[in-house]
Symmetry: C2
Subunit: 395 residues, 2 copies
Amino acid sequence: MEYQFSNRVSNLKPSAIREIFKYASDPEVISLSAGNPSPEAFPTEAVAEISAEILKTDPISVLQYSVSEGYTPLRQHIAEYMKKEHNTGSSSDDVLITTGAQQIMDLCSKALVNEGEVVICEAPSFIGSLNTFRSYNAKLVGVTVEPDGMSISELESALKANPNAKLIYTIPNFQNPSGVTMSLEKRRRVYELAKKYGALILEDNPYGDLRYSGENVPNIKSFDEDGIVIYAGSMSKVIAPGLRVAYCICPKPVFQKLVVCKQGNDVHTNIWSQYVCDEFITKYNFNNHLENLRKLYRKKAEFCMGLLDKYCAPAITYHRIDGGLFIWCELPEGVDMPEFCKKAVLNKVCVVPGNAFLTDENQTSRSFRINFTTPTDEQLEKGIKILGRLAADLG
Amino acid sequence: MEYQFSNRVSNLKPSAIREIFKYASDPEVISLSAGNPSPEAFPTEAVAEISAEILKTDPISVLQYSVSEGYTPLRQHIAEYMKKEHNTGSSSDDVLITTGAQQIMDLCSKALVNEGEVVICEAPSFIGSLNTFRSYNAKLVGVTVEPDGMSISELESALKANPNAKLIYTIPNFQNPSGVTMSLEKRRRVYELAKKYGALILEDNPYGDLRYSGENVPNIKSFDEDGIVIYAGSMSKVIAPGLRVAYCICPKPVFQKLVVCKQGNDVHTNIWSQYVCDEFITKYNFNNHLENLRKLYRKKAEFCMGLLDKYCAPAITYHRIDGGLFIWCELPEGVDMPEFCKKAVLNKVCVVPGNAFLTDENQTSRSFRINFTTPTDEQLEKGIKILGRLAADLG
């Protein structure tokens, strides 16, 4: 049987990361390739306690069908929390609960981007989102990520050159994969340019609460007076990803279309998970939990950067990070990066090759991404030592 | 701000059922409009027990990221169970776990149907699926549902007239909304025609285990020797819909594309739910649970049909059902059905107007759908009595 797949997906490949993730399930392989939270980060006791209680007192409420918009108390509490803590969201906005933030990319693509229309993305950017845009036959246009965020001149050129640009997709905090945080000045410029050229901003902020040093920079959504910013937040990195709970704060007319799309996508998000998240953020001192997470990850980030300095300098360079889960490493000029990553795998260390994050994967890259939250300290030391040895061999 | 939505969704309306569902949340309204299982049907103690155990012994396994294909033991157990009990699936197939069966419709549309290509649907059919196909700009072609399943002559005409028909979407058992079960002879004919004209069959079977009378008819997938049938099964009606766990049994090349699409859709399905389903079907005498479900629903179905006979005949007619959750009622010729449904709502009874289930909602219909599993017996009696009174007023 010759299957005829749609032109949306005939060239779509499995996410390099998800594929590597499978490879990395070999217990002998040290995986620096995932984007997983540390197992120590999960509030397991609270989840067990909340679950036991609701399954005892009102099981039907978490087992029956529910509404597509999401569990009402959770939507309200997120709206209040994000307003109070991050000045994010207004009375013109509404909150949609989604099955992970990945679904926000899917729903926004479906609702807003016709086939052939443009999504402007940071280059590099999160491969999962890029693949979602591709799966709707959107045309991706990449804008270089500089040390203070996307290049504003390139963004303006891209908007000028593509009057059919519908979305500007950005991860302003501790960007995946580059680790870069966009400056306040650039956030304002991105907002102004989006407004000027009639594009919407899709602000993806899964790591915003995981800042280990420096000052918080306001969300782009916090200066959205024109209803042009769609904000994507997630519980995956701050509670647990297995729950698949995320939230989208967006202008009401956009919200209404996203709800219709969600009905056709998965009807509603797992209601037990929504309930667990709601109880956890309202009754378990969420800010204290976040502070503990930051403490845990700050230590691991410092440890990882120390290992890179010790074992990999000067062959491998990297930008020091202020938060998030990833460090973006660069090999010397002239080095065959994919070959290096392959060698690493053969030596039982998994990293993600940098070209996987480009809007055009066939472009070359000297970079690769490592994660420091999933491996243990022992695994980190062993893995980075091996990378250092391989890098030294390059010279 | 004037938002420009994609041409996929600009005409897409919220599902009439989901909208009525909200309306029906008024506690004074008797809802015969949902498709919800009875609260008595949920294995709540087992879910609580399984959850407590896994959250105590290995919480990380259900809280961390997982693979897009689904929880491996669940996939294996479903493959074994469906092969053994229903001769469904073969070594050429694989099993994908999805976030409800709705997601199967979404993934299949994305992977297989280009914009403007045709999906052949039963008329009437499940509105959720129709809206999903619409959200990919598929063209819907309806084939009349006869008392023994879709019209074969209309199907062949539709396939001849639409060489770009990619999918034939059917709910062969206790069809939603008509309640009709397709005969074995017609199943074979549908299969042959799909093969002859190069279309794939999307066999949606959420109610197959809920047969209250008569003999099981083999799934179309059970005679799939050519790799042309995609089978959609669900835990929503046999365990609990809030879990959002369904499964797709399909040829491996299709499976691989659906996995890529799922990565971009929601990464993976809630892993706690998958684990709960796996434990429940393997360790809790699943067949006994199904027998109890059938007993519960058989009684409610008989009760409901008795009420229709008692209070609504002869003005309202209906086909007796052998299973499933719905009864399809018909008003006398010349009656304004939407007006009747509106009157019902004003009298605090919600039913779903039949035109909502048509490929072209602007066509007229004399039918409406009622559900008997969600309301209590008292609510059923009260609601159907009101419908009978309104129907009598018609004359």
